[in-house]
Symmetry: C2
Subunit: 256 residues, 2 copies
């Protein structure tokens, strides 16, 4: 990874952190960089977005959701230990389900229909922003190509996810007519699933990142991942909140 991707505002590590220090550093990255702080999310959760803007978010975010099992499969393609591989497989099962009509992606498509989108159009990802696709594919490539430790570390944004899911459920229920138990089931289910995943991932990372270069790799991986999430919201904000910036070929909301 070039230096342009490894700025968390600290000098590169030269001596090893304790496990507690490393964990604190990871939480600091979340506090400074996780996308709950992005103005797009503040507008979304505060009820300041119109229907077309919510649709644009749901549609673009599907790209990300659908890449997560591909990302986890790419990660599994690096795992030579059968027990670790089996553990990681559970994440794919959560998203893809065990049969048609189940799983996190299906729940996301229920949300898509709830905000008035066609599920086939959403699934096609035809209307998603190029910047969304680039960010998402950068994530898949990262876990495929970087050392396994860093690939696993990049999943640790889940440390910060339960808070944003709770804010989101409350905010959407308060402000938007489409919000109900059915359309928000994706987020509720993630509140059950994410904590066990992230506990496993954090434990793995803290046990395996002992040397300074490994710990720096872990820090950089989490910084990288916060960038993957933030960039998607920047692109949404530019295209759909600031007027007149939807790029050619991207989803155009109906006039309200």
């Amino acid at each position: 990874m070039g230096d342009c991707l490894r700025r968390d505002g600290n000098m590169p590590l030269t001596k090893a952190l304790t496990s507690e220090e490393l964990e604190r550093r990871l939480h600091t990255i979340g506090a400074e960089r996780y996308h709950d702080k992005h103005p797009f999310h503040q507008k979304l959760h505060g009820g300041a977005l119109n229907q077309g803007q919510v649709q644009a978010w749901v549609l673009n975010r599907f790209c990300y959701q659908n890449a997560i099992p591909r990302k986890d499969a790419a990660l599994m393609s690096q795992i030579t230990d059968v027990d670790l591989r089996r553990e990681w497989r559970g994440r794919i099962e959560d998203h893809d389900g065990n049969r048609s009509g189940e799983g996190g992606l299906e729940r996301w498509l229920v949300l898509a229909e709830g905000v008035g989108l066609d599920r086939n159009y959403v699934s096609s990802t035809d209307g998603a922003l190029p910047a969304t696709k680039f960010a998402v594919e950068a994530y898949v490539r990262f876990v495929r190509e970087r050392p396994l430790l860093e690939a696993i570390a990049s999943s640790l944004t889940e440390l910060f996810a339960p808070n944003i899911h709770r804010q989101r459920i409350a905010g959407l229920l308060e402000h938007y007519a489409f919000a109900n138990d059915d359309t928000l089931s994706y987020f509720r289910k993630r509140l059950e699933e994410a904590p066990k995943d992230v506990e496993f991932g954090l434990d793995y990372v803290l046990r395996h990142a002992r040397e300074p270069s490994q710990q720096q790799g872990v820090i950089d991986a989490l910084v990288f991942k916060t960038g993957v999430l933030w960039a998607q919201l920047d692109a949404l904000y530019h295209a759909y909140v600031e007027p007149g910036h939807i790029p050619p070929g991207a989803f155009v909301p109906d006039k309200e």
Copy 2:
């Protein structure tokens, strides 16, 4: 893929084959190139190998077995369709099982212990031949990097697997003391699993390979895969059947 990898003895396709013609071509590749014809397998199934040679086969073949779920995960990292991804996931479940002590890899380790090897040594792959590892990793990279259609086509050596598994079960039971229902359970189970997988894979390939360039890609992928299998047996034969050729660091059988 360079031309050096695309020799099946035919000119490149310039017009499309019918689905039946393509299927026949695939079967011809099996008839000419599948590793049931390799002299190492003929010796194995005919009872002509000593215990150390059988151990070398089991130990090296574990490398391949353990790479199969990684290969299938690499393939899944290319699949954007959730139904296809879920279908493919079943292959990983077959090999890795649903809990510790289950699955095809575990059954392979039972065979390893049955032929007198230590399961941890086998799992480490420390004693496997470099040529085995290169062939196996070439397969993982192939499915990660080539178009999805070709990645799926490379799995079609399973068309020819049931015959070799039946020959193997009969041959091993006839000739070797270690052979029993327990140690051979891997092969019996594959007789149940492989046919459903290969039926799905063949159907996918025949439906999606319509243009000459796609059909050529499918043919080349299957030729490539037969090379992955054949190269492993060449390396075993050279190292363990011809005396005196075990490379430094590779498994050395006990003197008999």
